[in-house]
Amino acid sequence: MKADVDQSKNTSPAKGDIILAVKDVSLSFGGVKAIRGVSFDIKRGEIRAIIGPNGAGKTSMLNVINGFYHPQVGTITYKGEQRQQMRPYIAASQGIARTFQNVALFKGMTTLDNIMTGRTLKMHKGIGWQMLRMGPALDEEVRHREVVEKIIDFLEINAIRKTPVGKLPYGLQKRVELGRALAMEPELLLLDEPMAGMNLEEKQDMSRFIIDINRQMGTTMALIEHDMGVVMDLSDRVVVLDYGQKIADGTPDVVQADQKVIDAYLGVAH
């Protein structure tokens, strides 16, 4: 069954099918309403940006999608199935990977090991074999290492593969985090401010990686970003949140010209 899915993905990208649909989702913490009745969808193969001022509920939305938060109201349909009770590891096993706003890496581990954790769900051989590093487990480890090495090459982080990630500069940590998410071979990749705190050159590198991932691997992405130039360049469609509500949804051009969006960002003169 898995093979069928992969094949259909390869032969026909099926770009345009809806992979994830969020419908009337509301989320509150005690009295604080983080998201209020938001609906939008993400189509297979696109880069979907989620933008909005600070506190608009963007990160909360990603947390809902990958199962950290459970919305009180509304439904989420992923790959045609409406979700019931959700847990992050279930989302991961269904092909949703993510990065975090403040890099969340395993600081004591090397770059290589960090990215290898992304393969956790794909390793199935017995623990005895793994400890002996023999037989089927060795084949498996080697196979996964190959995938990981490819990702390391792709992200140009070969020089730091054995470095504990806690010692790396911020820009590289963000890259390693992206690598770990890629190692999961996700169908839907959620990126929470992948370029926050980066300088121009790092931003350009990261943009290039995001476009390459999207074009070459056909990975669908949802992206939160504050840099408007980046958002307008990268994304196919943009959804704009403000105070937990959706205020605009459409192509970058349309959204950019929307009066409500301009007001939200610049403030309205009273």
Partner: protein, 257 residues
């Protein structure tokens, strides 16, 4: 020559006794490493493991089983008891406290300590139970070199060998297996670990299970040395210096310490 002989005798005796303490310290390190929690209950777990072992051993021997088979069955039984304990701790103590800070979790393990101590003695009795799994007699080494040889306690040697083997197994487990990698991941960042598909509850269960099994091994050695009794729980306190010297996060460090 007598002076040197004495010196070596005292040195080896001291080192080997230290190794026995490090068996207990290992349990602390494991849990601290994987969940960032200082597990106050480790001493109580050694007691529980020891009691479960010695009582079931007596039971099986009384049924007329050969000693080796009885030991095996008793070890399996005690292992199951530790697994059940790990599950209960994860389910009812730590599970509801995911994402709380270290001090809160530490306090909860103090609570768990009293429950385990109480329950263990309630179920298995509170007398001193002798346990004899290893040879305890003295052994005179190097008699040809030193007059009278060097007095070494065989039990201490066994304890040393077991501790060494445990460290190798655990180090391999942490470094090579996907579960070991997941354990280290959980210790560093809960949210990130969850996002790559690691179920935290399961990982914590594994950690406590491994700590429970280490406690069981420690109990076999200490039970033979002192008899299985309540005072075994205080070993945990004596193991503290080992921990502080060796570092809270290092398995080999616990042994060296």
């Amino acid at each position: 020559m007598v002076g040197l002989g004495n010196f070596i005798e005292v040195l080896s005796g001291g080192l080997l006794a230290g190794v026995l303490y490090s068996l207990v310290a290992l349990g602390f390190v494991l849990i601290y490493k994987a969940s960032g929690v200082f597990n106050f209950a480790q001493g109580a777990m050694v007691l529980l493991a020891g009691l479960a072992l010695v009582r079931s051993l007596d039971f099986f021997v009384a049924r007329g089983l050969p000693f080796a088979a009885a030991v095996l069955l008793a070890l399996i039984f005690a292992g199951l008891v530790m697994a059940a304990t790990a599950w209960l701790i994860q389910r009812f103590v730590l599970g509801p406290l995911i994402n709380q800070d270290g001090l809160t979790l530490f306090m909860s393990t103090i609570g768990a300590t009293f429950i385990i101590e109480g329950a263990a003695q309630l179920i298995f009795g509170s007398d001193v139970y002798p346990l004899k799994l290893y040879p305890t007699d003295a052994w005179f080494a190097l008699e040809s070199v030193f007059q009278g040889g060097i007095l070494v306690n065989k039990l201490d040697v066994w304890g040393g060998l077991i501790a060494g083997a445990l460290v190798v197994v655990l180090a391999v487990f942490f470094q090579r297996t996907k579960t070991g990698r997941a354990l280290r991941a959980v210790a560093d960042d809960h949210a990130a670990a969850q996002s790559v598909g690691i179920p935290i509850g399961w990982i914590w269960f594994v950690v406590w299970l491994v700590a429970g099994l280490v406690a069981l091994v420690a109990a076999t050695v200490w039970g033979t040395k002192l008899g299985v009794q309540f005072s075994i729980t205080f070993l945990a306190l004596k193991a503290l210096p080992v921990l502080i010297v060796g570092g809270f996060t290092s398995v080999p460090g616990a042994i060296i310490g």
